[in-house]
Symmetry: C2
Subunit: 127 residues, 2 copies
DNA sequence: CGGCATCCCCAGCGATACTG
DNA sequence: CAGTATCGCTGGGGATGCCG
C-alpha cells in the first residue's frame, strides 16, 4: 500500500524515516481547509492576490498570505511579481499543484454527492 | 463544474444557498489533518479506539474522540459498542466513508510521488 | 477500555497600521 | 495592490482525573 509509511512510521532504515517524517509534514501542510480551498480556487487559472481572496469565502488577508507562502515554498503554486506600480502579483498552480487539485476535486465532488446522506445522518445522530 | 457552488457561494435560490453552506460546513469538518488521517487509518478494517490511536501518530485522546464523534455524526464511520466489561468499541468506515477514503488515498499517493520535488522546492525557497 | 468533564495555557487568527 | 509587523484575544487542544 502506498500509504503504509505515512501511517505506520517507524521504519528501520534511516532514509525511510526521514522521508516519512517529511511526508507527514507535507501532509499536515496540505491537509487543511484553507490550503485545499485555495488550490481549488486557483484551478487552471492565474489569479491575483485579491482575486484569490474573493474566490475563497471567509479567508482573512493574513491566512491567505500565510497559506500562499506555504504553498509556494512547497512548490505547489508559482508566484509571479510584476514590477509595476501598483504592484501586480499573480498566482498559478504548478504541475504538482494541479496534480493535487484532482484529489481536491474528488473531495469536493464527494461532498456534494453525499450532502443528503450526511444531512440525514446528522439528523439521526442529534436525536 | 461540480464544485462551483462550494466555491462561489451566493446562489440566488434559497435551497441552493442552504445546500452550499452545508457543503462548506462538511468540507471544513472533513478537510482537516486528523479527520483525514483517521479515515486513512481505518481503511477497510474495523478498529477499536486505542487501535486507531496507535495507527494515527501523535493524536491525543481528546482529538481522537472529538474527530470520531464528528465523523460518526456525519455518517462516515460506524460506531459499535459491545456491552462487555471492559467495554469494547469498534469503528468502521461506512460506505460514504470508504468513498471519501479513495480521495484521501490520492492525497497520500500524491504526497509520496512529489516528495523529491517538494524537498528541492523548499531548498530553493529557503535560500 | 472508552468517554466525558475540568482546568489551563499557548499558538493561531483577526484587526489594525505602516511600507514599497 | 501586496506584504509585513504588532497586538490582543479566544478557543483549540493537551493534561489530568473520574465514571460506567
Amino acid at each position: 500500500m502506498v500509504t503504509k509509511q505515512l501511517l505506520k512510521g517507524l521504519p528501520e532504515d534511516a532514509d525511510l524515516r526521514r522521508a516519512d517524517s517529511l511526508a507527514r509534514e507535507i501532509f499536515s501542510d496540505v491537509a487543511n481547509k484553507w490550503a485545499l480551498l485555495i488550490i481549488e480556487a486557483l484551478g487552471e487559472r492565474t489569479l491575483r492576490f485579491n482575486e484569490v481572496r474573493n474566490e475563497v469565502e471567509g479567508i482573512s488577508h493574513k491566512m491567505l498570505t500565510q497559506n500562499l507562502r506555504m504553498l509556494e515554498r512547497n512548490g505547489l503554486v508559482d508566484r509571479k511579481v510584476h514590477p509595476t506600480v501598483p504592484p501586480r502579483v499573480e498566482y498559478t498552480l504548478t504541475e504538482p499543484g494541479r496534480a493535487l487539485r484532482t484529489a481536491v476535486d474528488a473531495i469536493c465532488g464527494w461532498t456534494h454527492q453525499h450532502l443528503a446522506h450526511i444531512e440525514s445522518a446528522r439528523g439521526s445522530f442529534d436525536a
